[in-house]
């Protein structure tokens, strides 16, 4: 099944290359907006990316999801033409990241993980500066940033360095958008951000998507996966899986049980002692348990647990989430 998919992707790609030779306009229609093929990158002995291939379609909100050190930033820096890959090819908006890097730089927006605006310029000066660099004005694309920029406009004479974290984030996003980029690269925009502000930020991304901007966003928060059209799970420089969040969850091929009790930590350690328990992890107020013996009934497990002193234990089937899938895929 997956081989078929790969074949299909390959033939698509060849088709695009033919189109590319026919007309560059066609190429932009046919090629995915972001196309990486077998990208590898090493820093000394550290292999940051190993044969990474992803496609981001026009208008997609695409999430690159994985922990720190997975290679997310390296991939972003290759796609935004800031560093060169050791191997593989990539195009952004139909342009090659090596040959046409200048065209990419003028047509994409990039918000790095670390705040990278000019701290000594005011809010308004930063925005004007970025507009000027990209040969445009604030007025020209004001519609695009209006909803975001209006929230910080009351502080437009304040220096960027004196802004709070949330406001810095909004300014950085405004600056990344001011030239109406075709693709927006957001590297961990919500890391260290509280759950309320994270929700608000994802709301902004949804609005931008509706305005036709292709967005590639990275995050270590697995719960944000469900807000993306498609996600790529990445760890140790390798893509584990690419699909819609719904498909990733539905492909989880194990039965998952939720277990609750009064003493959750003891329940966790006791469950792990049961010979039929393959894995057991905490997920909020519930333990997620996988069994290696489907003949084991919940009644038998409940009885076994009550023998260990656990009364009032409830066991029920549950739907896995993206975090379950990630853990399953990374299991050795």
């Amino acid at each position: 099944m997956s081989q078929n998919n790969e074949l299909k992707a390959d033939s698509n790609c060849q088709l695009s290359i033919v189109n590319y030779q026919l007309s560059s306009v066609n190429c932009q229609l046919q090629l995915p907006t972001v196309n990486c093929k077998s990208i590898s990158k090493a820093y000394g002995s550290v292999q940051a990316l190993k044969e990474v291939s992803i496609d981001v379609e026009a208008g997609e909100l695409y999430g690159l999801i994985g922990p720190d050190g997975a290679g997310k930033t390296t991939l972003f820096r290759i796609l935004t033409t800031l560093i060169l890959a050791d191997k593989g090819t990539s195009t952004v908006g139909g342009f090659d990241v090596v040959k046409d890097y200048k065209k990419i730089r003028s047509s994409v927006g990039y918000m790095p993980g670390r705040f990278s605006l000019y701290q000594d310029l005011t809010v308004e000066e930063n925005l004007t500066f970025f507009a000027n660099v990209f040969g445009t004005t604030i007025e020209e694309n004001y519609d695009l940033i209006k909803d975001i920029y209006q929230q910080i406009e009351p502080f437009k004479t304040r220096r960027a360095g004196a802004l709070s974290g949330g406001m810095k984030q909004k300014l950085a996003l405004s600056c990344a958008l001011i030239h109406k980029p075709t693709v927006l690269f957001l590297d961990e925009p919500t890391t260290g951000v509280d759950p309320v502000s994270r929700k608000e930020f994802w709301g902004m991304l949804r609005n931008l998507k509706e305005q036709g901007i292709t967005i590639l966003v990275s995050t270590p928060y697995m719960d944000e996966a469900s807000l993306c059209d498609r996600i790529a799970l990445i760890t140790n420089g390798q893509i584990l899986k690419v699909d819609t969040p719904q498909n990733i969850v539905s492909q989880f091929d194990n039965i998952l049980w939720g277990v609750r009790g009064n003493n959750m930590h003891k329940l966790l350690t006791d469950l792990r002692l049961h010979p039929s328990v393959e894995s057991c992890f905490s997920f909020g107020d519930t333990l997620h348990v996988m069994l290696n013996n489907n003949a084991l009934t919940t009644t038998a497990l409940t009885t076994w647990l009550s023998g260990k002193g656990h009364q009032d234990v409830t066991i029920f089937p549950i739907e896995p989430n993206v975090e379950d899938c990630f853990m399953e895929l990374t299991k050795q």
Partner: protein, 258 residues
């Protein structure tokens, strides 16, 4: 009288952190606004709040790094205003941003922090061997910390923070960016520490982790708006999970800080 005091000691749980109407102002800005709470020995206490709610400022006062403008606080029995040096000796601290020295080896980091906290060489040696064995880090003993994977680094950082058996350990977003399996293993280390009687004071932006705490406080605009067990908070706010509780409370914030 003596008897009465004695029975009080037995019945009253030991309070490791006591905070009474603590205030911190920066000019006209009240970062922490009359917060009061107690944390008991061996408790895992979750200290939640939106960015800018005042968590870091409160935590800095509890660690003896910043003096309160008003109010009283005791950590491990020491006054945070007048006995801040004793406070510092009685606590451990770990954050995601700063934990260990990258250019020192694993054993050198342990040696350095243990030395700073005044442990003697014999204890350090014995305990280092034990710790490396428990963490299955024997092979990494002579490895530079910078070459460890993040998950390993965080586990080591936590173990170093409690190496001198502090009364209380402060953890500031200890699991940010860590992969899901390691994040859970990290919490298992927290449970073990708490079972040994080390009080854990932890901030996190992962709401599933709030569920792992014995009690949780939620700060909004410098004040503690809710404080209870996750179960009671969910009942009180008619929420399915802690994220819903948090969203309900933190949305009320009027401060647009951080």
């Amino acid at each position: 009288m003596e008897n009465l005091q004695h029975s009080e000691i037995i019945t009253q749980p030991e309070k490791v952190i006591e905070v009474n109407k603590l205030v911190k102002r920066f000019g006209h800005f009240t970062a922490v606004d009359h917060i009061s709470f107690d944390v008991e020995k061996g408790e895992i206490f979750g200290f939640l709040g939106a960015n800018g709610a005042g968590k870091t400022t409160a935590m800095r006062m509890l660690c003896g790094l910043s003096k309160p403008t008003e109010g009283k606080g005791k950590v491990a029995g020491f006054d945070i205003e007048h006995q801040s040096e004793q406070v510092k000796k009685s606590i451990g601290y770990m954050s995601q941003k700063f934990s260990l020295y990258n250019d020192l080896k694993v054993w050198e980091n342990i040696r350095l922090f243990a030395g700073i906290y005044g442990m003697n060489d014999k204890d350090i040696k014995e305990k280092t061997a034990l710790l490396l064995e428990q963490l299955h880090f024997e092979k990494e003993r002579n490895v530079l910390v910078k070459s460890l994977p993040l998950g390993m680094k965080q586990k080591l950082a936590f173990s170093v923070a409690i190496f001198h058996t502090p009364e209380v350990v402060f953890l500031d977003e200890p699991t940010g960016g860590v992969d899901p399996a390691t994040r859970r293993q990290f919490w298992e280390l927290i449970y073990e520490a708490a079972a040994k009687g080390i009080t854990v004071f932890v901030t996190t932006h992962y709401m599933d982790e709030a569920e792992y705490c014995n009690r949780v406080s939620i700060m909004v605009d410098g004040r503690i708006e809710a404080l209870d067990s996750p179960h009671n908070l969910k009942t009180e706010f008619e929420a399915h999970n802690m994220d819903e509780v948090f969203q309900q409370l933190a949305r009320k914030a009027t401060r647009k800080a951080d």
